[in-house]
Symmetry: C2
Subunit: 302 residues, 2 copies
C-alpha cells in the first residue's frame, strides 16, 4: 500500500510522519534541527535521519516499503540550496521529493491543502496565506522590528506600562504589582536588569500572567491583549489583500496566544469581521507534517 512522508523541519527539531493515502498516521521519526540555512549539512542529515526512523516504524506496520512521496517544509529555505537538499533526500530514499518553507507546510496542515490564511501568535507572530499557488506574508519581522500581537510583544507592553507609571509618578497598577511579584522585585527600576539579561522566550513567558490578569478584568492587561488581537487582525487583513481573496476564506490560527488567550482571540475575530466579510476560523492542533501529506496528495492522486 502506498504512503507519503510529511516532514516538518524547524530550528530545534525535525519531525517526519508517514500517512496512508487516506491520511491515516502510520509511523513517525524525530531528530535534531532542520533549518537549512542555520544548520546546513547537519539539517540534511537530520531530515534523512528522521525520515529513516519514520520508514522503519512504518515498515513494522505495513511490512512493505511503498513510500511514494516525501514532502518537507523546512525553516530557513530563503537563500538555501533547496535543489541540493531535495536531491539528497530523493537519492537516499529513491522517491520523489519536494521541499517548501515551514510556513507553507503549516498552512497546508491547517487548511487541508486548501487556499487560505494562517495567522500565528506564540512567542513571535506572523501571517502567511496561499491563493492559486501564490504565497504571501505579512508581519514576521522578529522581536526587534515587529512581532506585534505575540507573547513577547504582550509581555513587553506590560513592562513598558510599568516604566510609564514610574516616569509619570502614577500609582502602580495591579499589572505592575503582579509583574514585580512574579519576578521577585520591589521596584520598577529593577525590571531593566531582567529585560537586559533575558532571552526573548523568557520575556514572552510573562504573557500568560498578562492573560490571567486580563481575564480578571485588570484594565491595563485588557487593553494590551485587545491591542494584540487587533494587531493580529491587521497582519491577517494585509495578507488577505495581498492575495486578492474575495470570497469566503479559511483562516487558520496557530500558537498559544491567538488560540488560547480568550481576549486576544475574541478581539482578533471581531476586528477581522470589520475587514473581511466572510471567513471561517480553523483551530486544530494538527502537526505541520500533515501539511506534507495534503500537498503530496495533489501529486499522487493524478
Amino acid at each position: 500500500m502506498k504512503y507519503v512522508i510529511g516532514i516538518d523541519g524547524g530550528g530545534t527539531k525535525t519531525e517526519a510522519t508517514a500517512y496512508t493515502i487516506d491520511g491515516e498516521e502510520i509511523g513517525s521519526g524525530y531528530s535534531g534541527p532542520g533549518n537549512l540555512i542555520l544548520n546546513g549539512e547537519w539539517a540534511i542529515e537530520n531530515i534523512i535521519s528522521a525520515a529513516n526512523e519514520c520508514m522503519e516504524t512504518t515498515n513494522l506496520v505495513y511490512n512493505e516499503s511503498e513510500c511514494v512521496f516525501i514532502y518537507a517544509g523546512l525553516a530557513g529555505i530563503d537563500g538555501a540550496d533547496v535543489a541540493k537538499a531535495e536531491k539528497a533526500l530523493s537519492d537516499r530514499f529513491n522517491v520523489e521529493t519536494k521541499i517548501v518553507s515551514d510556513a507553507e507546510i503549516a498552512l497546508a496542515a491547517l487548511l487541508k491543502g486548501d487556499d487560505g490564511i494562517l495567522t500565528i501568535s506564540g512567542t513571535g507572530s506572523v501571517c502567511y496565506g496561499i491563493h492559486e499557488g501564490k504565497l504571501e506574508r505579512a508581519g514576521g519581522w522578529g522581536h526587534i522590528l515587529g512581532d506585534e500581537g505575540s507573547g513577547y510583544y504582550i509581555a513587553l507592553q506590560a513592562f513598558k506600562r510599568a516604566a510609564l507609571e514610574e516616569d509619570e509618578c502614577i500609582k502602580k497598577s495591579r499589572l505592575t504589582e503582579k509583574l514585580l511579584e512574579r519576578l521577585g522585585m520591589k521596584k520598577v527600576k529593577e525590571i531593566k536588569k531582567f529585560i537586559y539579561s533575558s532571552r526573548k522566550a523568557d520575556i514572552a513567558a510573562l504573557a500568560p500572567l498578562v492573560a490571567e490578569l486580563g481575564e480578571e478584568g485588570e484594565e491595563n492587561a485588557v487593553s494590551i491583549l485587545r491591542e494584540a488581537g487587533r494587531d493580529l487582525a491587521l497582519i491577517t487583513w494585509r495578507v488577505y489583500r495581498k492575495l486578492g481573496f474575495n470570497s469566503k476564506v479559511k483562516i487558520g490560527i496557530s500558537g498559544g496566544i491567538i488560540r488560547r488567550v480568550k481576549l486576544v482571540r475574541k478581539e482578533f475575530e471581531m476586528e477581522l469581521a470589520k475587514y473581511i466579510k466572510e471567513f471561517i476560523i480553523v483551530d486544530d492542533d494538527v502537526s505541520p507534517s500533515k501539511g506534507g501529506y495534503y500537498l503530496a496528495k495533489k501529486y499522487i492522486t493524478n
Copy 2:
C-alpha cells in the same frame, strides 16, 4: 594654590580633570572603564589611575600638590558600594572625596551646578533633573523598553517604515530606498539580517541618514524626526513635573541627536514650549568632569 579634581567614569573610559578655584583646567588624566557595578575593583583602580595621572600633569604646572577635593560622577552606582570606593580614593590621595552618579555630574557640568534639567539623546536617550537636592529621572529604560527619541529609536522607526511598506504593498519610499542602498541590499526582506546581526550602536549609526533625508524634506524621515523631538520633550516635561519646578528653568541638552539634528531640536523646543512657560536651553560641549568642579566648589567656598 588650591585645586579640585572632577572625575567622569563611564562604561568605556574614565576622565579626571583638575580645575583651579576659578574653573581653569590645569591638568588631566585618562584610563579604562569606571562603571562601579560592571567593572568593580577594576573601576576603582582606573579611577585612581586617572586621578593619579591628572595630579602628575597638574604638578608640572603648579609645582605643588594642593588638591582639596575629588568629586567623581560614576556610571553604575545603583547597588554599588559607593562608600568603599569613596574611602579608597580619599585614603589614596588623602583628600576629601565624593562620588555621585554620572548623570548628576553631567547635569552639574552643563548647568554650572545650578538646579535644572538635562535631556540626553545620542545612541540612547534619558532625562535627568535636580531641584533643591532632589534628583529625578524619566526615560532611560534602554533600547528594548524605551529610548524614544534616541538615534537607535530613529533608525529603528525607519526600518519599521520599510517593513510596513512591504507588508502593505506600498511603493518603496525614498527613505527605504536610501536605507537599502546604504546597506547594500536590494529587498526590504534583507533588513532582517542586518537588524538581528547588529549591535545597538550599528543600528543607531543609520540615524544620520534619516536626519539627512529629513533635511531634504523626505516626508517619512521628517515625521520620524519630529516624533523624536516630541518624545524628548515628553520625558523632559515628566522630569520638570516630578521635581515641581515652577519658575524659569535651565534645560541642558547633550548628545548628537538632540543637539545637532535640526528637526529634532526644533520640534523638541516647540513641543516643550507647550508644556513649560519659561525655559533656557543650554547647549555646551562641556566635559562632564567640569560638573565635579562645580559641585566641589560648593564645599570648598564655605
